[in-house]
């Protein structure tokens, strides 16, 4: 069976993982030199049940750009996975500039800037509403509004692009 190497980051320092599969179907995961045997089943399509060296653990795993969104005991972690052979993780949602994305699904209730405006760090850009809560999005730095992807009243998904700066 093939052996693959990854560099994996959960919040802190990157770790090295070497993954292979044994003849009995169990996985071998060597994390920074420490080997673990994992018996993996999927009781439901969106859940991993792992017996890691006999310990029972369950995780949700949804793919995301640059890695996985892993949910263990209700705690979601965005995990970056790099295959060193490819040695690249595409993390930028758009070329040429910085893009503000929606940090929650919702509805755009107000757009406070227009294309061509110069904005200062901390300046409110637009207001998103979801579940009776309004959330003001502010500029993370000084810049020029290069593009507006949304209009007032529009519904947006989590992670949808809202504004691009230059």
């Amino acid at each position: 069976m093939s052996t693959l190497r990854y560099t994996i980051t959960v919040g802190g320092a990157p770790r090295s993982a070497v993954v292979s599969r044994d003849d009995d179907g169990h996985f071998r995961v060597v994390l920074d030199g420490v080997a673990h045997v994992v018996d993996l089943v999927r009781p439901t399509p969106d859940a991993f049940h792992m017996l890691i060296d006999g310990q029972s653990w369950e995780a949700g795993a949804a793919p995301r750009e640059g890695g996985w969104l892993i949910d263990v005991l209700g705690l979601s972690a965005e995990v970056d996975v790099v295959d060193p052979r490819r040695a690249v993780v595409v993390r930028s949602a758009a070329r040429g500039g910085k893009v503000i994305s929606a940090q929650m699904p919702g509805r755009v209730v107000r757009v406070l800037v227009a294309v061509g405006d110069t904005v200062k760090k901390g300046q409110p850009l637009l207001v998103l509403e979801a579940m009776k809560m309004e959330n003001e999005l502010k500029a993370a730095g000084d810049g020029l509004v290069a593009e507006l992807y949304v209009a007032e009243g529009q519904a947006v998904d989590l992670g949808a692009r809202l504004v691009r700066f230059e």
């Binding site: 802190g12 793919p63 949910d71 705690l75």
Partner: protein, 502 residues
Amino acid sequence: MRPPPFQKVLVANRGEIAVRVIRACHELGVRTVAVYSEADRTALHVRNAGEAWLVGPAPSAESYLRSDVILDVAKRSGAQAIHPGYGFLSENADFARAVAGAGLVFIGPPADAIDAMGGKTRARQRMIAAGVPVVPGTSEAIETEAEALALAESFGFPVMLKAAAGGGGKGMRKIDRAEDFGSAWRSVRSEALKSFKDDAVYLEKFVADPKHIEIQVLADAHGTTVHLFERDCSVQRRNQKVVEETPCPVLPAATRDAMAKVAVQAAEAVGYVGAGTIEFLYSQATGDFYFLEMNTRLQVEHPITEMVTGVDLVRAQLRIAAGEKLWFSQADIKQTGHAIECRVYAEDPANNFAPAPGLISGLREPGGPWVRVDSGVYAGYEVPIHYDPMVAKLICWGADREEAISRSIRALREYRVRGIRTSIPFFSAILRDPDFVAGNYSTGFLSPSRLEELCAVSQTDEIATIAAALAQYERDTRPARAASATPTQSAWKRSGRPGGDS
């Protein structure tokens, strides 16, 4: 079997509370009419009800708050009564009057009782008249320093001096001792004049580290009012209750009795009928308590009272509304064991509690002994963006507080929600917090620093790393055809900051 209190009841609400009311109706043999907005065709209350009527578009103002449409549906469906749940039309006296005017029964207190408890000032005055303790203070501006000082001394220090035109924390000062009064008086007035062009000031007693404690009451239409003991609702974030428990772990028995007596007094003073709650501020330092407000409806946290008393409050509401006399006396109601409620919000605790609506791709609710889930959602349900983020409540009972806490932690560990983020892991952290375990908490418990601490708790990075390695390995080794899973989320979210750029 007892005859049902009504033949058919309309439930003018959505979410878990509509489901809760429908359950009580079905148990009593009452047929149910659900109402729903265009965003709620697949909602659980529609699935569980006997019949369901569309009342308007997604925004509440155009559907769940349309008293005219709802009343019309009630008449056309042949409902005899309307249960408003909480929120929406539940504390709307005009609606209560309109329901009665249409010859139907409003399952709640008389409209006059809603009115009497409606405005803070009006309620305060009614309560003072009824001999109910309120937070001492003035409701009109004070003219002279001497007058103010005398009042402060009558209230007892510390006091708060507040600019009449102030707000948002500006133009107010806490005064601990009489010696500091003069300088505080002058500086608050001059600040007020400068900031608001108005130097009028008010005085209020300062209640340090208060607990939020409330008493559940039930009153029939025949003059009997009973209480069902207290709930401690001091674990709050942004004035929103997060965890509630009963009994309060630190309330002396004598204070509990006094508070309960006052609550019954307050309800009787306004001719209350049905289920209601009197909220108090309780000072652990002095042992004093003060009337805050009355909620003239069912509370979100009513289940913990049900668990320790054995009284089904929603059934009781229905039977009382049908005119039944209370079928038990105050002496029959006992507090047995301990109950805790955790309100499950579709919010991301790791991302400043940002709303997290969306599709619940997988759901496994906890079960087993003394675990109750009052839920408004199911696996496959898409939580809409239009309404309150509370999607379910976890209620656990235990023979004592330790059992209730450990059972809650066990249940939270079993609770699996996939697809959206929820406050579930946050609760496990709260219930393990040493101050919470000691019962040592007031409304200031969830300070910004403690919130940050509680949200940071996570010892599963090792597991997440292994899971990610396996997920990636499976994807990399599976046949090419299936390998094109699309990313569902962009990487900017990693930062956890609102509007982080990538």
